[in-house]
Structures are given as structure tokens and as C-alpha cells.
Assembly symmetry: C2
Homo-oligomer: 353 residues x 2
DNA sequence: ACACCGGATGTAAGCGCTTACAAATTACGG
DNA sequence: CCGTAATTTGTAAGCGCTTACATCCGGTGT
């Protein structure tokens, strides 16, 4: 609709004098007295061009303040130099750190990241996929989404996929699982070594894979130490602060004794600490608390939170790296650093009764 | 580069059998036995089309799993339905909340937000602008950037701008300033009303406008109450947790007595609380602390932080709304809710000596 | 029965860019 | 100084889409 576009610009120009339609290759070519092919070649360095013309063109570009139209280039090239990224919520501190890693990595390599939030539900996530596909992104990175493996495999037929924080084998998909079980094991074992035996666990959403793997690690640590697992000490949460508060309140009210609390993630731990505080309990004197993720702000909590580090930032960078490798046609050979326990001040030996 | 694009697709198909080149309008038209114009009209509802053809086309679309190519449409229409958003860091909890507001608002109205981080420096911010302009976004929202007013005014000639958290008058720019001074006044007055007279202030970066407005509010509250302002009690920070820690340490070491601490933002307050804890001081018993921004996690701190709320989320939504109004050619009539003080448990009356 | 009209379709141009291919220019060797 | 090869440059087609304009259709009025 050239006509409409032109009309539009004309109208705008007339009304507000503002968005002058941006310069095009053609204008630059005319200004510099060369053909548009030459201009294109100079911009992309696609071929040798005589020095004088080059100067003329560069001058014209500067004068007109020309910027190539990415849409047109994308159309001609059949690629957008854009990587779509789907998370659950852009404002979750957890995802935000990952996004940062992705953005940093991609931006330095000439790619742009396009972020979208799935809002913890499948329908929204599909909407995101659809939008990204429509924009013809070159690849999509999914941060532990809620889409079924089967659906992902289907999408992978249309675009390369990197799935972070999840294990999934399928053609055109690369997954970067986090060692949740080992992290949970480390955390729980740390509490056991401090002398705790009554260790409660605040889980995430029941059927969530991360949650169940962490639960598994928790149980294994207990078993390894010969401590009987008490189901009464396991309560569900929601991966958010609020869930941590509620779960802890429930635990406290239930009357089941415990001296330590392992939380499925840091946000849950934040909530737990608040609930303990409300209950007049001191962390770590009365109850030790361990989180998982080691969010940036965890080291600034009062007291600083002991947590399992799995640098989300690195996860993000690695996802970006894996995607770029896939785009080169290589099989990604990326691996994540091991999870590790960061001991701070929210854990201590249990109080002598 | 039709040739290259075609080659590319052909190659890919041959090698990996994966990214089959996506269906086009033309394919749909052929499949349905109509012209591409008809297909386009059905997709966009641009004109009346007989029912039987419509059914045929819809069937073809479903069968081929067709999704219009956004780049091609953008090129034809001369607009991208995309709004660029520049922040300092996507992983800062402050900006993340704003981004969420923008994303929510725009997405519901058929727009997509494209986020980029300026990393607190002008060069990166310019790079972002350049990239967004190249992508021909329909408008750009800037969250309290570091670009000079003059530069912004220049950019505004090419694209409509909304500048949040900052006051700036210029054609094609709409700014949404936050009432920093009043917020700081409220916070400081609250401390005074509790009985504090020795109130320290941890500032942000020296020349930052937000910081100086908040400083102004702080001084005004003191003046209103007839309390002399002691420059010794004002120390710089960096808007981050670390700056809060350091500033507080310095304050503590200086030996200048104070019973309350007003921090330029919540992150700084988090750091301050940690430093107090390290110094064996209890908040609020020994020292009261107030922040600014009321981040989501502030209500989950131990103790929950008293803070000035200026919902960033709403700021984001409002920015989106203003941008859409500008795009309609209207002058935005958006205004922000008043800042308000949220009193929690990090403030109390000063301890009797 | 015929010219005419309004609405549903189709045809084709153009959005800004890249690049295959042709044309024009330059540099050589004889 | 000319023919030919090696460059540099220009021309034009095509990427997938929208829409102005032409075409075609059945239905009216007379």
C-alpha cells in the first residue's frame, strides 16, 4: 500500500510538521549521485567500491541521517536478526536476570531480543509464540515455559528453539536444564550438617517440574542422612513471596516442630522470612532458611540469605549462545556451570532446647 | 535478495528438513482458489467478501498454518505496530515493574513493546535509539534516560516520544514527571512527626534530577519543621543496594548522630538496612528507614519497608496510553496518581536515650 | 430487451532493500 | 595503440503485503 503510506506521510507532514518520512536508499543514492546498489554495497561492505564514491555516499548518509529500514532489509534477506524470548513475567526478578543475560549476549553480536511475557498461562504463551512467528524472528528462547513438549516440538518445525531450565530432546530444539535436584540436595545437606533434623520444605506449584526435582533432592538428602521424611513438613507454595508467607504461617499453625526451612526459590524464602518475623521468630536463631536461585537481592536481605546459586544471568547468556550456534547450523555445545551453595547468614545450628 | 532468500530456504530444507519456508499470501490464495487481494481483505476485514470464498480462505489458512509476515506488512503499511522502550537496565526491579505496565497495556491494544537497556550510559542509549529508529518503531518510550533534552528534541523529529519520570516540553514529546519533591517531603515529614530530628539522607548520583528533587523535598520538610539542615548527614549513593551499604557505613563511621535515614530509593534503603544490621543496629528500634518507589519486594522485607509509592507499574501503563494517544494524533491527557507514603514497619519513634 | 449501477474480485504497482546479471570502465600484454 | 580480462557500477527483479483501479457480475428501471 504504497499509496496509503505516502498519503499518510503527506498528511502527517502537513498537520504536525513532524514525522518527515525517513530517508531511503534511493534518496541517499540521488544525493550522492550513484546507484542504490552502490549505496547498499557500501553500507553492508558487500563489495569493493571506489574511494571517492564511498566518501560521497557516506557524506550523503550523514547529511540525510539515513538509517536502513530494518523491515525492508528483513524482507529482502528473509531474516530479521531478532530473537524472540518468552518468559512468564518480565518483572519477576528471576526472569529479569535471565533476560539481561540474553540481551547482553545477543546485542553484542548484532541481534536484538524481543521479550514477551507468558503470564504463567498457556494461552498467553501461545499468543506470544504466534506473535513472534508472525514477526519472523530467527529463533525463540523459552524460559521454562508451560507449553507441552509436544507443542514445542511442533513449533520447532517452524523456528529453532532453545528451552532453558528444562530438559527436552527434539529436532531443532536445544534445552539447557538446570540441575535442580543437586541444588536441593546441597541445600538440604547443608542444613543437616548444621545439625538440623526437622527440616520443612516449601514447594512450588505441585506439578511444576522444577518444584518436583527440588523436592526430590530434598528427600534424597534426608534419606542419605538417615532422616525419616515427614510429609507434614512439606507444604505447597506458588514460587512467589505471598505463597512463602502463607505456607510458613500454615506450618507454624500446624504445630509440627521444625528448625529449618528449605524454600523452593528465593522469593518464597523472602515470604517465609517475613512470616517468621510476624510470628516473633528470629532467623537464623530460631529457624534457619535456605532459598534457591540466589537472586541479586538475596545478598542484601536482613539477614543475607543462604541460597543455591545457578546464575540465571549465565543461563541467559548461554541460551543466547546456544541459539546463535543453532543459527549457524551447528549443534550447540553449551553447558552450564554447576550449581553451588552460597552460605550466608540465614542458616545456623539449631538452638539448643 | 529474493534469490538468496530462496536459496537459503532451499538449502535449509535440504539439509535439516526443518525450517520449511513459511507459507505466503500467494500460497493461501492458490490453495483457496482466489486472488491474493481477496485473502488480504479477509485477513484484515478490509472489505466485504462472499461467504463461500471466505470459508475457503479460512480453511486454507488453517491448513497451511499461515501467519502474515509482519515485516512485509510493516513495509507496505509504513508502520510496525511496535513501540520501542528504553530503560537503563531490564533487570532492575524498578524498571522491570514499569516495563510490565507498558507491556500489559500495549499488548492488549495490538502493539508490541520492544525493550532495550541503556546501561546507565549515554552511548548505549544512543545505540538503542538508533536501533529502534532503524526498526521503524511507531514511537519510543524512554524511562528517565540520560540523554540530554536537546538530543531528545532532535529525535522527536523522527518519532513520537514519551519520556517518563522526567519533565520536558518539546514538540512531539510528552513527558510524565513524577512528583519527587512531594514524595520526599512526605517521607521526611513522616519521620519528623514520629519525633526524629536527626534525619540523614542518602542521595543518588549527584547530578541526577530525581535525586536532586528528592533532596529538595527532604530539605523543605526540615525547613517547614524548623529543623536546621545538617550537610554532614547527607551522603551520596548510586541508586543501588551497594551504594546504600557504603553510604550507611560511612555515616556510621563518621560518628554524626542520627536516628532516621531517608533513602533516595528502595534499593538504597535495602543496602542501608543491611549496613545497619552489620553495625549491630536494629531497624526501626535504633534507626528508622524510609525508601522511595515502593517496589513490590519492599513489603516483604524484614521489617517491611516504609516507602513512598509512585506505582511504577501505573507509570508504565500511563506511558503506553500516552503514546497511543500521540499515535492517534491527539494530545495526551494522561496524569499520574499522586505519590503517597506507605507506612510499614521500618519506621518508629526514636529511642529514648 | 438494453443501458446502467453497485458491489464483489482480480490485477498490478509500490513499500525499501539486496543481489544476480548486464553494462561500463579500467588495466594489461602484445 | 588495440583486444581482452578484471574490476567497478548500474539495472531490474523479487522478498510478502496492501490497496487503487480496472473488471466482471447480477440486478434495476424503462
Amino acid at each position: 500500500m504504497s499509496k496509503r503510506a505516502a498519503d499518510n506521510n503527506a498528511r502527517k507532514r502537513a498537520t504536525t510538521a513532524l514525522p518527515d518520512s525517513p530517508p531511503t536508499l534511493e534518496m541517499v543514492a540521488k544525493e550522492a549521485g550513484v546507484s542504490i546498489a552502490t549505496v547498499s554495497r557500501i553500507i553492508n561492505g558487500t563489495a569493493k567500491v571506489s574511494a571517492d564514491r564511498k566518501d560521497a555516499v557516506e557524506a550523503a548518509i550523514a547529511k540525510l541521517n539515513f538509517r536502513p529500514n530494518a523491515a525492508a532489509r528483513g524482507l529482502a534477506l528473509g531474516k530479521s536478526n531478532t530473537i524472540g524470548v518468552i518468559t512468564q513475567a518480565i518483572d519477576s526478578p528471576f526472569y529479569a536476570e535471565g533476560l539481561r543475560g540474553i540481551e547482553d549476549y545477543l546485542q553484542q553480536r548484532g541481534y536484538t531480543a524481543l521479550f514477551m511475557s507468558g503470564n504463567w498461562n498457556e494461552a498467553d504463551e501461545e499468543r506470544c509464540m504466534s506473535e513472534l512467528l508472525s514477526r519472523r524472528v530467527d529463533g525463540i528462547i523459552i524460559f521454562s515455559g508451560r507449553l507441552q513438549d509436544r507443542q514445542l516440538a511442533t513449533y520447532a518445525k517452524q523456528v529453532p528453539l532453545v528451552v532453558s531450565g528444562r530438559s527436552l530432546k527434539a529436532p531443532n530444539i536445544f534445552s539447557l536444564p538446570v540441575d535442580d535436584e543437586r541444588g536441593a540436595l546441597l541445600a538440604t545437606r547443608h542444613l543437616i550438617e548444621l545439625g538440623h533434623t526437622r527440616i520443612a520444605f516449601i514447594a512450588g506449584i505441585l506439578d511444576h517440574p522444577d518444584a518436583s526435582l527440588r523436592f526430590k533432592g530434598y528427600r534424597r538428602a534426608l534419606a542419605d542422612a538417615g532422616i525419616a521424611h515427614d510429609p507434614k513438613l512439606v507444604v505447597p507454595g506458588d514460587f512467589h513471596e505471598e505463597g512463602g508467607v502463607e505456607a510458613t504461617m500454615r506450618l507454624l499453625k500446624s504445630g509440627h516442630k521444625f528448625t529449618a526451612l528449605f524454600c523452593v526459590n528465593d522469593q518464597t524464602a523472602y515470604g517465609a522470612c517475613l512470616a517468621l518475623y510476624r510470628g516473633g521468630l528470629n532467623c537464623p536463631r530460631d529457624i534457619s532458611v535456605v532459598g534457591f536461585d540466589d537472586l541479586h537481592s538475596s545478598s542484601y536481605r536482613v539477614p543475607p540469605l543462604t541460597s543455591v546459586r545457578q546464575s540465571i544471568r549465565v543461563l541467559g547468556e548461554s541460551s543466547g549462545a546456544a541459539m546463535l550456534q543453532m543459527l549457524q547450523g551447528e549443534r550447540p555445545d553449551i553447558s552450564l556451570p554447576q550449581v553451588e551453595l552460597i552460605v550466608r547468614e540465614s542458616t545456623a545450628a539449631p538452638r539448643k532446647e
